[in-house]
Symmetry: D2
Subunit: 101 residues, 4 copies
């Protein structure tokens, strides 16, 4: 089952600067061979369910190992059985309609 | 790694009444032996990471099998290494402080 | 326009214990006359759109004033025009179906 | 108070193709003069609190007026008082650290 995820990992107890933890998660997602797209409030991830969630678990383990005692993560998660759809498809579908509006 | 999750599964393409899909997910979570607490905008779930996410995957598979061609799920997910904390602890901590305020 | 909201306010830069900030937000929501229901990963809120979002803004202002330099909040937000629905309706609809399953 | 928001509006009861509703929301956000960045699972929005939430309310009103009887929206919402930060700053901070890693 393919999923498109929006992932936002928020470490608590490590102050207000969290970009180093985001960087560590980006590396984990990339090394897992997942397609990713960083944005200003999270990262879009595309891949097979088990691979995506194995990577998210590794993000939590890694961010804890980096010193964060608590993590609060938000995930949006989409699956569909009617047709294949990539992250690029989703963005392009909106952009095309916006351009012709 | 223990997790406390807030899960909200939203099936698309099946009209506006979605409670039957929520019921199916509740059963899956219960049958998985997870501790759950239903609320008006989702369900709190407590358990081991792998068990919780295996159950969430089964929710998606089941809701698709029930006829929903598309699902958009929201997950909040908390882990901590500094101490054990249950769902009840979290609610009680706030209630105690509210009562003494 | 009536809304049912699930609100989770996460202060950053104040350590791992955040219940005092949750307590402050609970009080603000109550004082605004909104119907609320605390759960283990947030608070359900029911009311008129403008009242609900005025209260959420006041939560952010108050949590900053309490010393949190950064806040990351998650909101789930439902509106419907087909019929009236309360938070209790939503929970009851699922519970009734679970009981008869 | 300035906010950076991640907005994802999900109309229910209108089938599985929702891009026309996303397009309508994009136009509302642009016409409100807000800075936006579309991604595969929502839109980042940057602006003053009151302007941002007035626009989000208008999105709900408009999507209902287009025929959606029910809407389930997810919002991530960040404010900070320690320093100014734009959406571009957030992405750039991670990209710079990734590049030098």
């Amino acid at each position: 089952m393919k999923v498109i995820v929006d992932l936002c990992v928020v470490p608590l107890g490590v102050g207000v600067s969290v970009s180093q933890y985001v960087v560590a998660c980006e590396k984990i997602l990339k090394e897992a061979g997942l397609k990713t797209q960083l944005h200003a409030y999270g990262t879009n991830v595309e891949g097979e369910w088990d691979m995506v969630f194995a990577a998210i678990k590794k993000c939590h383990e890694t961010v804890h190992a980096m010193g964060a005692p608590r993590i609060s993560t938000m995930i949006k998660l989409g699956t569909r059985t009617d047709r294949d759809q990539t992250m690029d498809d989703k963005v392009q579908s909106v952009r095309t309609k916006l351009a012709s509006a």
